[in-house]
Amino acid sequence: MTKSAEDALVEQLSQLGALPPNDLLGRVAVDWVSLPATVGRVYVAFSGHGISYLRTADSVHGEETEFLESYRRRFGRPLRPASRPPAGLAPALRTGRAKALTYDLRELSSFERAVLTAIQEIPHGQTRPYSWVAREVGHPGAARAVGSALGRNPVPVLIPCHRVTRADGQPGDYVFGQEAKESLLRAEDVDLDEVRELAAEQVFYLGSDTTNIVCFPTCHNARRISAAHRRGFRDVVEAEEAGYRPCQHCRPESMATA
């Protein structure tokens, strides 16, 4: 082995330094913005993988630093201010219609992800009970676990966990408190008072005696039934015995065998 051969090898090795990919920092850090929404100002964290975190200004006492610290505590990643929000976020916050956005739910369990995916199907202005979600994700009877999963929703407001309520018309728990949940639902024109009045009379489903279809009370099909043709039911079995079939839109049949 000659000395020069060794030098040549060492020389070649020294040229193997490489430039990192364009945005290595972007693989580690997450961007954040502050935007107006129907619920007042919100703070949102996002990356190329999607939107990962949302907090209302109210929930962090209007303090940007409290939002940043709560994000870091939960995700352990650095944050950097973004020059603009991801496409579609601003209109989604204005309208409350956010199904088309991309979310980063990688930090959650597969059950939690399934729950948050299922509830994105609940339309604006409608509600479903916890047991309905449990049934939708293939775990009937896991209504309490659904409640915990909703409590860990990192992107409330956009992923509409506020649309999952107790069957008796009470809003149920919420990340930002029951009061915030109720005002979000009222902003979407959900008639909570009516749902409560019906529940007080043991009515949890509404049917139309012209179509013979039975729905959850907030389903848009139920809201179209005129008072003269509206019939109330305690459960879907009772409705089916009366010759009604479950609405294919709000799918109350999932409760029938619960």
Binding site: L16, G17, A18, P20, L24, L25, R27, A29
Partner: protein, 224 residues
């Protein structure tokens, strides 16, 4: 690449980390991403793995920094610290993949073109570099790490020893054994290249490469 450890610039960077972790962290990544990525790329041999390795190393660094008090951050030697993290992650990945080997598509081994030299020069130069990178990935892990730290990054022996967690004498011997093996593999390749017609050479190369790339762990073990 970067300043000597504990220079004024390093102290200023560490002070920024103490002052505002997230803002200082941006500077930490900017200052050391090239050295961290170069080591990740040359030990793993693959750009796709190197991206993940480098990103994961910085993420772990950030999470560690969140738990450190000011005194501990000020005492850091960021370059050695970050390279220790990157090599730890890489070694753990190697250990996992030697239990569960995977096939590596040859296309993944191609470096993205670097800017600088002209097209022809680049073609010749980067072919040689790819060859060398592949040859490096046949070395046993500790020799690979030692050669990359010493000769690709140009670290002094004491730093190499610190990062590898061994005495300086041991670090030196890892480096020289690694170099010796690289030279032998290199000479063997050159002999093959001069003895065969060009078309067959490229075929031989491709075959040999595929095997070496698909079984880095096995190749490493055989060498030991």
């Amino acid at each position: 690449m970067c300043d000597d450890e504990k220079s004024g610039a390093t102290d200023a960077l560490l002070a920024r980390l103490v002052d505002d972790l997230d803002a200082g962290f941006v500077d930490l990544v900017r200052g050391y991403e090239q050295v961290v990525y170069s080591v990740a790329l040359r030990v793993s041999g693959q750009p796709s793995d190197a991206d993940d390795l480098a990103a994961e190393a910085f993420l772990r660094a950030y999470r560690a920094l969140r738990g450190y008090d000011a005194a501990r951050i000020r005492a850091l030697q960021p370059r050695s610290w970050l390279l220790t993290i990157v090599l730890n992650i890489w070694r753990n990945l190697m250990r996992e993949s030697s239990r569960r080997p995977r096939q590596v598509p040859l296309a993944d081994l191609v470096d993205p073109p670097a800017s600088g030299p002209g097209v022809e020069e680049l073609a010749v130069q980067s072919e040689g570099m790819r060859e060398l990178t592949r040859t490096i990935s046949t070395l046993p892990t500790v020799q690979r790490a030692a050669v990359v730290l010493r000769h690709v990054i140009g670290l002094p022996i004491p730093d190499v020893a610190e990062i590898l967690g061994c005495p300086e004498g041991t670090a030196k011997s890892h480096i020289s054994r690694g170099l010796k093996k690289l030279r032998a593999l290199y000479l063997a390749r050159d002999r093959r290249a001069t003895m065969s017609p060009p078309t067959i050479v490229s075929n031989h190369r491709a075959d040999g490469l595929r095997i070496a790339a698909a079984t880095p762990a096995l190749a490493g073990r055989r060498d030991q």
